[in-house]
């Protein structure tokens, strides 16, 4: 059965910060495409990806996580043009969803993560850590919606966003959205946006570290939080290196 979704508009909450000029270049049927992944009860599955290229991209993933299963997803979003990564997760009893995302870029690209985490049954947990580093006219977005169903007692959901803007003109948007219908739940969310720590930069310079090396070290430390839960260190390095390669010559 095909279901034809209406094309998104700026009035749709989850599209509110999207780049509509870029979206218009995508074929309408792209908006109906979801990559569906189902995890059997007790299963653990990990995926880490580097996404984004020279033209607009739309990635939509729908995860159905069975009882006691564990889904982990880590994404370095390094597009040079609009790149949207949308994840919808449905958690059964005692399931866990781990998400780590980094958006990084200058130019004028909008890079975004839009997640919807559905705690459909009791005792499921989720943790999302997103870091955005931008300069030029770059934009990083994180819209994280968490739905806790009426019966989903003992839900434990956490969302953590931090943005680092290296130049005036760049921006970051964070929007947590919680819909909670159970009463015995923990839902934590935090968002902060700041600039490079100039004191730390001077401290590093005073020890002989050139500005470009100091910048890389500081940005690496900042984004590393997003991939800290990724156990495979080689994969962790791969994502960090891909993200830092974008950093280039920004002051």
């Amino acid at each position: 059965m095909t279901q034809l979704a209406a094309l998104p508009t700026q009035r749709d909450e989850e599209w509110r910060y999207a780049d509509f000029a870029a979206l218009e270049t995508l074929a309408p049927e792209r908006f109906d495409e979801w990559k569906e992944i189902e995890l059997a009860p007790g299963e653990t599955r990990r995926k880490s990806m580097v996404l984004g290229g020279e033209s607009p991209e739309l990635h939509r993933i729908r995860l159905t996580v069975g009882e006691g299963a564990r889904a982990e997803l880590f994404v370095a979003n390094i597009g040079n043009d609009y790149t949207r990564v949308e994840v919808e997760v449905r958690l059964a009893k005692g399931a866990h969803f781990q998400f780590g995302g980094v958006t990084i870029g200058g130019g004028d690209a909008t890079l975004e993560f839009v997640t919807r985490t559905i705690h459909a049954e009791p005792e499921a947990t989720s943790e999302q850590v997103v870091r955005s580093v931008h300069w030029g006219q770059g934009i990083g977005n994180f819209l994280g919606r968490i739905d806790v169903a009426r019966d989903a007692q003992k839900t434990d959901a956490a969302q953590d966003f931090k943005g680092l803007l290296l130049e005036r003109g760049a921006s970051a948007n964070a929007k947590p959205e919680l819909e909670i219908f159970a009463d015995d739940v923990k839902c934590a969310h935090g968002a902060a946006i700041g600039e490079m720590d100039e004191t730390a930069r001077f401290y590093m310079a005073a020890r002989g570290i050139p500005p470009e090396v100091a910048k890389t070290l500081l940005v690496r430390a900042f984004i590393a939080d997003a991939f800290a839960a990724l156990e495979d260190e080689t994969e962790q390095e791969r994502l960090l290196d891909a993200a830092l390669a974008v950093l280039g010559d920004v002051a």
Partner: protein, 246 residues
């Protein structure tokens, strides 16, 4: 070695240094004492090249080179070390990583080869032991969660590893208890008390000078050196106060 001539500097448009002159020869340790607001920390930051500290007149040469023309990291590569009054915390960057980057950047700037991971760790262990600092602490992020005294000891471990030829130490004694003061004092002596090195020791109190004997003591007030003398000047200041002496 370090020659400061008629130095004027402003911070946020306010004049802080007003014609400061000072000369430190190789093999000498000079202490600078003075009341709050005299310009002691400003002098340290100006020598280190901190952004926001604007030199409006005068000159500083370091082994004949115009220090003020160089970027902060270039000054460090020349062998200048600035000990911070408030060492900076850098979450997510370990001491080991930080210091290895720093040392290898300096070696590269001087045309040398980088130290391997193993060689670096051996050096770090030696220097940490000298300051009686647990090597485990060096694996933690730079200064994060360190007490005031641990931060100051870590500064001295950094100095030992980087092995500078000139150190400007800004109130390295503040925040130290008596035992730590002794350890830090001995650290300064063993790292910097050499015929080819020099130290500018900025301090409020005489107590560090019990361990690190200065060759010359200067009194800084209102942005200028108002009096210089031997080690006895520090004792006199301690006894009678800045107002009476300077």
């Amino acid at each position: 070695m370090l020659e400061i001539t008629n130095l004027h500097a402003t911070v946020g448009g306010t004049p802080i240094l007003n014609g400061l002159s000072l000369s430190v020869n190789a093999g000498e340790i000079h202490a600078i004492m003075g009341p709050n607001g005299a310009g002691k920390s400003t002098l340290a930051y100006v020598l280190g090249g901190r952004p926001g500290y604007e030199v409006t007149g005068g000159s500083v040469t370091f082994n004949g080179q115009d220090l003020l023309a160089l970027d902060p990291h270039e000054r460090a590569a020349l062998g200048l070390f600035l000990g911070f009054q408030y060492p900076v915390e850098i979450p997510g960057v370990s001491n080991v990583q930080f210091l290895r980057e720093a040392l290898n950047a300096q070696r590269k700037a001087r045309g040398g080869e980088p130290l391997s991971g193993g060689e670096f760790l051996k050096l770090a262990k030696e220097q940490a032991a000298l300051l009686r600092m647990d090597m485990e602490m060096l694996k933690r992020p730079v200064n994060v969660g360190f007490s005031g005294g641990e931060k100051k000891r870590a500064e001295m471990v950094q100095m030992g590893i980087l092995d500078p030829i000139f150190a400007v130490l800004d109130e390295t004694d503040s925040g130290l208890d008596i035992d730590a003061l002794k350890i830090v004092g001995e650290g300064i002596n063993s790292i910097m008390r050499r015929p080819d090195k020099g130290v500018l020791l900025i301090t409020h109190y005489q107590r560090l000078l019990d361990y690190v004997k200065p060759d010359v003591v200067h009194v800084l007030a209102k942005g200028r050196i108002v009096k210089s003398g031997g080690p006895e000047l520090a004792l006199e200041l301690e006894r009678e106060g800045y107002e009476a002496v300077a």
